[in-house]
Amino acid sequence: MRLPDKTTTLEEAVSGIADGAVVMVGGFGVPGTPFTLIQELVRQGQRGLTLIKNDANEAGMGVDHLLAAGQVDRLITTHIGLNAHAIAMMNAGEIEVEFCAQGILAERIRAGGAGLAAILTDIAADTELAAHKQRIEIDGKRFVVETALRADVALIHANSADPFGNLDYVATARNFNPLMAMAAKRVIVEAERLQPFGGLAADDVHTPGPFIDCVVELGDLSKEYAVVRR
């Protein structure tokens, strides 16, 4: 026995995304955002997308390119305060935005990845975020039903990957990536370094290979990955 090889090209990996797809995108700010996969999705031009991402990056960066190109109908997110362009599109009705409490977005994605139907929580129960959500009573207390999120495709940024798709992440670039890597039908990884089989210690793998479908090795990193000078 040996483990299967899932390495492929950038173009091939992203070409599996259809118009109208629900796409999860890793990252919290710059760290962990798969800028190269996003740029290829802009180049290929799939439209009518629903994006699930913690934030909307900043104007002119990352998923903002998808917004600017009119490829996105809907965004499920927690905070888009650093992207004035996204806020303007939302206010103009050019994109529909669903806000979720950050940890609950994380748990809804994780629940999707864990094959659960929903989680029950009291978070945001007093706020408009949960105003229209189903509630149920357990032992006399009422909880909000937060349904699991799954996607057609997840775009993941990893520090390193082996050909089977075992991944590790670095520092705060981990964030939503391991959760989204479990929660999509097709999971595409861009990795800064491709390791040989056995190059990642089995105890140090952050996302196990069985969750991954395509591994793309990055060449030189674009400027979007760099430290932001404000």
């Binding site: 483990l3 299967p4 050909p163 089977f164 479990m182 290979g209 069985p210």
Partner: protein
Amino acid sequence: MVARAAAEIAPGMVVNLGIGLPTKVVNYLDADFPVCLHTENGLSGIGPTLPVERADRNLIDAGGAYVSTVPGSAFFDSAVSFALVRSGRLDLTMLGAFEVSQSGDLANWKIPGKFSPGAGGGIELAQKARRVVVLTTHTDRAGNPKLKADCTLPVTARGCVSRIFTDLAVIDVTPEGFALRERAEGVSAAEIIEATGAPLALPAGDTPTF
């Protein structure tokens, strides 16, 4: 039958082999065959079983056997391990059985009053693997059929079994019930029908043997 069952594994699959007969399937896979074996206690990429002299005290499979890793193995916790199963990343599981019904119900975890150790991870494997096949003797020790119209024991999961490998035959569970696909060398269709506790559809022409 174990060799025949091994041929059920396609290249690239993620596979969980249940305790007992299914575990032996691994001996029929080529060194170069691309497959990922999963065990629910937290390992993808199981390597060969090791004798106690060479065992790592921290490295077992879900049945308690001392196993090893391969290049590209990964360890994870029990929540991640079953997330993989429930979210559809397990392509195939091979399980043992007390009973299989003609609608694919599986009973393999409890015999009321006799055997009730708990279900372990068996329910999730049976319910959520993309394909569930059973490896079992065709009859129990008393000679009673394990393939039945309905399960009489508590079920593990309903309608989950696709195919059954026994010492006598390969039998599919179809919308119309059990269908004979292959006979063991030297076993007649009549003998298989006799040992099966529910109607068995025969192939139109000759039945291949294994």
